[in-house]
């Protein structure tokens, strides 16, 4: 049983290594460029398998896109220029992080507005409750004072 499990684990490891992307033949010679390339891969969406970055995807198109990134870096592009190159061809969709602009502003604003609205609602509720309980206390006090007065025959 144990040997079967370890064999399975070994097989899975081998498969995952075989599937790991970017592949070993995609390494850039210059470690500084390789680091930049890896960071860029993570920022670009695989357009076939859209919830993955091209760093995580094994789709042939993602492989080609990684190739394009390396070519751009070797051609002396800055990180922003390399991203622009693909954005020009695939649009904003290719960026994992949507840019802040007119049609995406809701993405950034709505969660903040919902949070602020909830916080304001909660604050208003708490304030209202505490005021009401204070008022009730006051009413209680008046009633009790009257009762005492009556008891002592003052009124």
């Amino acid at each position: 049983m144990k040997t079967l499990l370890s064999a399975l684990a070994g097989l899975m490891l081998a498969v995952s290594l075989a599937w790991a992307s970017p592949g070993p033949d995609e390494q850039m010679e210059d470690p500084a460029l390789e680091a930049r390339a890896l960071a860029l891969y993570a920022q670009l969406r695989c357009v076939v398998c859209q919830s993955q970055s091209i760093r995580d995807s094994n789709a042939p198109l993602a492989e080609d896109m990684r190739g394009v990134v390396r070519e751009r870096l070797l051609a002396g592009d800055s990180d922003a220029e390399a991203l622009d190159y693909l954005q020009e061809r695939y649009g904003d969709y290719v960026l994992m992080m949507p840019p802040l602009q007119g049609n995406t502003i809701g993405l950034f604003l709505i969660p903040a507005l919902v949070f602020l609205g909830g916080a304001a609602g909660l604050a208003a509720f708490v304030w209202h409750q505490s005021r009401r309980s204070r008022e009730l206390e006051d009413e209680d006090d008046v009633a009790r004072a009257q009762a005492l007065d009556e008891e002592e025959g003052l009124s």
Binding site: V47, V48, Q50, P60, L61, D64, M65, V68, L86, E88, R89, Y90, G91, Y93
Partner: protein
């Protein structure tokens, strides 16, 4: 007033339900093309094995045409192929092909087996032209007007319905536009 406030969550829920409900009707896998109303990116592709001529972007200037990206490895392309043959036979519009990421010889073997609907085929073995075109998967088809501008892109198989309902009317409209 306070009664109305109690309905706010329900109203909020209904607004979101309608919004997300509409969102479900859209196809999230379809990425809008960046090429619409823009000039076709320049390319000059070599011929596939056994063919004399390749395909350059300049070949598409001068008449309305379809540019179809396919691959012998692509199952939906096999589904689409009879439709392309039918369009080619009808003579309504010339079809140009880009053989995307096929191993040498695979494209021409495919055309020999299934018939060749294309006026010219370019070999994009490296897939760089496909990236310039913003291709997300095969098959994809562009409608190019007579000035070499991209006017429409269809992602996926051209069905009879899409051809008669969408592509053909647009092609005929652009052909009428091209006539002086």
């Amino acid at each position: 007033m306070t009664r109305l406030v109690l309905f706010l969550p329900l109203i909020g829920f209904l607004v979101m339900a309608v919004y997300f409900g509409l969102g479900l009707r859209e196809d999230p896998s379809e990425i809008p093309s960046q090429l619409i109303e823009r000039e076709l990116p320049a390319f000059d592709l070599p011929p596939i094995e056994g063919f004399e001529t390749g395909l350059a972007s300049t070949d598409l200037v001068g008449q309305v045409s379809l540019l179809n990206v396919f691959g012998s490895w692509c199952p939906p392309c096999a589904v689409e192929h009879p439709m392309l043959m039918q369009i080619a036979r009808s003579g309504v519009v010339p079809i140009y092909g880009i053989d995307w990421k096929d191993p040498p010889g695979a494209g021409s073997a495919w055309l020999e087996r299934h018939g060749n609907p294309y006026q010219r085929v370019g070999d994009d073995a490296a897939g760089r032209t496909a990236i310039d075109l913003g291709i997300t998967g095969a098959p994809e088809t562009f409608i190019i007007d007579h000035t070499g501008r991209v006017r429409y892109r269809h992602v996926g198989v051209i069905t009879d319905e899409i051809w008669t309902g969408t592509l053909r009317p647009l092609v005929e409209h652009l052909q009428a536009e091209a006539r002086p």
